[in-house]
Amino acid sequence: MTDWLPVDAYLVDALPEIWFGAVMFALGMYIVLDGFDFGIGILYATLDDEHDRETFLSAFGPVWDANEVWLVAFGTMLLAAFPRVYSRLLADHYLLAIGFVLALLFRGLGPELREQRDDDRWKRYCDYSFVAGSALAPLLFGVLAGRWIFDAPTLSLPAVLTGVGLVAVSVVTGAAFLAAKTDPELAVTLRRYGITATAAYLGGVVVLLASVVLTDAGGAADAVLSRPVAALVVASVAAGVGGSALAARGRYRAWLATALALPALLAALVAVLLYPTVYPATGLTVREAVVSPLALNLTTVLGFPVLLLVLWYFTFLYSVFSGPIEGDGYGG
C-alpha cells in the first residue's frame, strides 16, 4: 500500500487544511441535521394533543438515528486527523462531555420506548425524557463549544451564550422542518415559535460577538472583526430575516431551506474563529496538530469516497421520507 501512497508528504499540500474543513463539515452536518431533531424535541413540550405528538415523532422517527451518526463521524474524524485535540478537548471538558452524551441517551430512548407500551403514565415519563434530553443536549454541546472556541469558563458569557444560541437555532430548524411536513393549522403555531427563536438566535450571536470583541475572550477579538466573520454574520441575519418573512407568508419549504442555512453558517463561523488552530488551549495550529502524512493520506483515500457514498444515501433516505406525514405516521 505504501508503494502508491506517499509516506512522508501529504497527498496534496493542503491536506491538513482540507481535513480541518472536513471535520468542520461533519460538525456542520451534525448541528444542521440533529439540530432539527433537538428542535422537534423542544417544541414537543408545547403540545397537549396526542395526535400532534405522534405526528411530531413520526416526522423525526425514520431519520434521527442516522442524523446522530454525524456526531460520531465528527468525533472519529477529529480523532483520526487531530488526536491531540480530540483527547485534550474531551479531557478538559469532562463533565460537559459526559453530560452531553447522557442527554443524548435520554433524547434517543424516550420516543423509542414510548411506543412499546400503551400506558399514559409510561408515555408521560418517556416524553419527559425526550424533551429534557432534546433541550439539554444542544445546551451542553453549545457550552462545550463556547469553552472550546473562546477558551472561556463554563459559566461565562461566551460559553453560556453559545449554548443558548445552539438551543435557539435548533428550535428554528425544528419548527421549519415540522411546518414543512405537517398540516397548515399546526404550522401557524410553529412559525410563531420559529420566528421568536430566530430573533433570539440572531440577537444572541450579536451580543456574543460584541462581548468577545470587548473582552477579547480567547484572543478571538481580531478574528471576530475580520471580513469573513462579518460576511457570515450578515449572511446569518439575511437568512434569519428572510426565513422569517417566508414563514410569515406560509412558504414553509422555502423557510426550511433558509432555516437550515443558519446552523450551517454557524459551523462556518466556528471554523473561521478557530483557524489556524483547532483548539486554542493547546496552542497547536492545524499543521502542528495533524497526524503524519501516511496516516492522513490513507484516511483520505479510504474515507473520502465513502463520505460521498454516505451523502448519496442520505439523499435517498430523505427522498423516501419526503413530503408531508401521512395520517399517524409512515406505517411500517
Binding site: G61, A73, L79, A91, Y94, I98, L102, Q116, L298, G332
Partner: protein, 482 residues
C-alpha cells in the same frame, strides 16, 4: 516546542471514593459490558432479520411476517440502545483515557472513522427504511435494506475489532516524539490493520454474537411455543435457532481451542492467567477446576485448586506436540492482570460453551424425533438458557480485556499511564455512579420491552392467560393449552 500538557486536577474530595484510574477503568469496563450486549444483539440478529424479511416479502407467508415484525422491533430497540451506549464509549477515549487517544490516535482514529462512515451510517440509514419504509420502497429495495443493515452491523464489528486486535498485538508503527509527547506513528497500514489477532478475534466474536442471539431467539420461541403449542411461526423460529446453534456452538469450541494456542504464542502472560499457571515449566490442561478454599477464589493458583487435569497436555497444545515444553508462568512478570477474574471468566466461558453444544445436540435429537415443541423439559431449558449466551460473551470479553492488563496497548502503554491527569477522583466517581444507575435502568427497561413484546405477541396469538397477572420470573405457569 509545545510542552506536554500536564494539568493536574485539583480535587475537592467530596465524593472521591475512587482514584481517577480505578473509577475510569470501572466506568469503561461497565459501559462496554452494557454496550456489548446491544452490539452483539445487532450482529447476531442481523442474519435472522435478513432471512425473515426475505421470506416474508418473497413468499408472503404469515409466519415470516410475524417473525419479521417481532424481531425487527427487538432489533430497533437494541440498535437505539447500542447507539446511545456506544457514543459515551467513544467519548471516554478522550475524557478518561486521553493519553491512549493521543498515543494511539494515528493508529486507531482511522479505523474508528471508517466504522462510523462505512458501517454505522449504513446501519442507521437503512434501519430507518426497514422500520418505516415498507409502503414507501419496492420489495427489492426493502429486502436490500435489511441486507445493508446486517452488513453494516458486521462491518461495524470488523472495524472495532481492527482497533482492539491492534491493542492486543500491535504492529505497523514506530514511536516518535511529536509536540513533546511520544506517540505511535503509522508506518505500515496493512500490518497495522491486519494484525495477527484480528482474524481470531473477529471470527470468535461474530460467532459468539450469533450463538447468543440464537439462544435468545430459541428462548423466546420456546416460551411462546410452551404457552401456545400450535404457534406455527414460533415453532419455525425455534427449529431455526436450534439448527443455527448446532452449527455455531461446536464450531466455537474448535475455534476457541486454536485461538487459545494463538494467545499463548502472542500473549503468554494472558495465557498463564487463563490457566492460573504461576511456575514456569510443563503445564497440565485443566478440564475442570474447583476452589478448595475461599482464598482460592480470589487468588487461584493451579497447584492449589482441585482440578481434573490432563498432565502435560497444556504444554502439548501450547507447543504443538511436546508434552514437556516449557510454558511461561506468571512469576516471570512484574505486574500481572487480576488473575482471579481472568481465570474464572475463562472457565465460565468454556463451561457455558460446552453446555450450548449439549443443548444444540439435544434439540437436534428432538427435531429428528419430531418432538421439539412437545418436550416441556427442553422448552424450559431453552427459556433458562436464553441469557447464558450473553454471559459467555461477556466473560470471554473479560478474558480478552482484563487479561491484557496492566497494558492498554500490549507491551507499549500501561493503562495507568493512559488515564487523564486532568481528571479528579470526584468527577470520575460522580460519572461512574451516573453510568451505573442509568445503565441499570437501561437494561431493566430493555428487558421490560422484550417482556411487553412477548406478551403482546401472545395476546395476538390468542394465548389464554397472556394478559393476566404479573410477571412471575422466567418460568410461566403451565396454562390450559397444554
Amino acid at each position: 516546542m509545545f510542552a506536554s500538557a500536564t494539568v493536574t486536577a485539583v480535587d475537592p474530595g467530596w465524593l472521591a471514593f475512587l482514584s481517577p484510574e480505578l473509577a475510569s477503568r470501572a466506568q469503561f469496563g461497565w459501559t462496554i459490558s452494557v454496550h456489548i450486549l446491544f452490539a452483539a444483539l445487532s450482529v447476531g440478529l442481523a442474519p435472522f432479520i435478513v432471512y425473515f424479511t426475505w421470506k416474508d416479502v418473497r413468499t408472503g407467508d404469515e409466519r415470516f411476517a410475524r417473525l419479521r415484525s417481532f424481531w425487527v422491533k427487538v432489533f430497533a430497540a437494541g440498535f437505539v440502545m447500542g447507539t446511545v451506549t456506544g457514543i459515551p464509549m467513544s467519548f471516554q477515549f478522550g475524557t478518561n483515557f486521553p493519553r491512549f487517544a493521543e498515543v494511539a490516535g494515528e493508529l486507531i482514529g482511522g479505523p474508528l472513522a471508517f466504522e462510523a462512515k462505512m458501517a454505522f451510517f449504513l446501519e442507521a440509514v437503512f434501519l430507518g427504511v426497514l422500520l418505516y419504509g415498507r409502503d414507501r420502497v419496492s420489495d427489492r429495495t426493502y429486502i436490500l435494506s435489511s441486507v445493508l443493515v446486517g452488513f453494516g452491523a458486521w462491518l461495524s464489528g470488523f472495524w472495532i475489532l481492527v482497533v482492539n486486535a491492534w491493542m492486543q498485538t500491535p504492529q505497523g508503527y514506530e514511536m516518535v516524539v511529536r509536540n513533546g509527547l511520544e506517540v505511535a506513528r503509522l508506518t505500515d497500514p496493512i500490518a497495522a490493520f491486519f494484525t495477527p489477532r484480528l482474524p481470531w478475534m473477529y471470527v470468535h466474536m461474530i460467532n459468539a454474537s450469533v450463538i447468543s442471539v440464537a439462544l435468545l431467539v430459541a428462548g423466546v420461541s420456546a416460551y411462546i411455543v410452551w404457552k401456545k403449542r400450535d404457534a406455527a411461526a414460533w415453532n419455525t423460529a425455534l427449529k431455526l435457532a436450534v439448527v443455527i446453534l448446532l452449527v455455531s456452538a461446536p464450531f466455537q469450541a474448535l475455534h476457541g481451542d486454536a485461538y487459545a494456542r494463538h494467545v499463548e504464542d502472542t500473549q503468554p502472560q494472558k495465557f498463564a492467567a487463563m490457566e492460573a499457571h504461576y511456575e514456569t515449566g510443563s503445564a497440565d490442561l485443566h478440564l475442570l477446576a474447583f476452589p478448595t478454599s475461599v482464598d482460592a477464589i480470589t487468588d487461584p493458583r493451579a497447584e492449589n485448586l482441585f482440578t481434573v487435569s490432563l498432565p502435560g497436555v497444556g504444554s502439548f497444545l501450547a507447543s504443538g506436540g511436546d508434552f514437556d515444553a516449557t510454558v511461561l508462568g506468571l512469576n516471570e512478570y512484574e505486574n500481572n492482570p487480576p488473575v482471579a477474574l481472568v481465570f474464572w471468566s475463562f472457565r465460565m466461558m468454556v463451561g457455558l460453551g460446552f453446555l450450548f453444544i449439549a443443548l444444540a445436540f439435544w434439540g437436534a435429537y428432538l427435531i429428528y424425533r419430531g418432538r421439539l415443541s412437545e418436550s416441556d423439559r427442553y422448552l424450559k431449558a431453552m427459556v433458562l438458557a436464553s441469557p447464558l449466551g450473553y454471559a459467555a460473551l461477556l466473560t470471554g470479553w473479560y478474558v480478552t480485556e482484563i487479561g491484557r492488563q496492566p497494558w492498554v496497548i500490549q507491551g507499549e502503554l500501561k493503562t495507568n499511564d493512559a488515564v487523564s491527569t486532568a481528571l479528579s477522583g470526584t468527577d470520575a466517581t460522580l460519572t461512574l455512579t451516573a453510568f451505573v444507575v442509568i445503565y441499570i435502568a437501561l437494561i431493566t427497561t430493555a428487558l421490560y420491552v422484550l417482556k411487553w413484546l412477548i406478551r403482546e405477541e401472545l395476546r395476538d396469538l390468542g394465548a389464554a392467560d397472556a394478559t393476566d397477572g404479573r410477571w412471575r420470573g422466567p418460568l410461566p405457569e403451565v396454562n390450559n393449552d397444554d
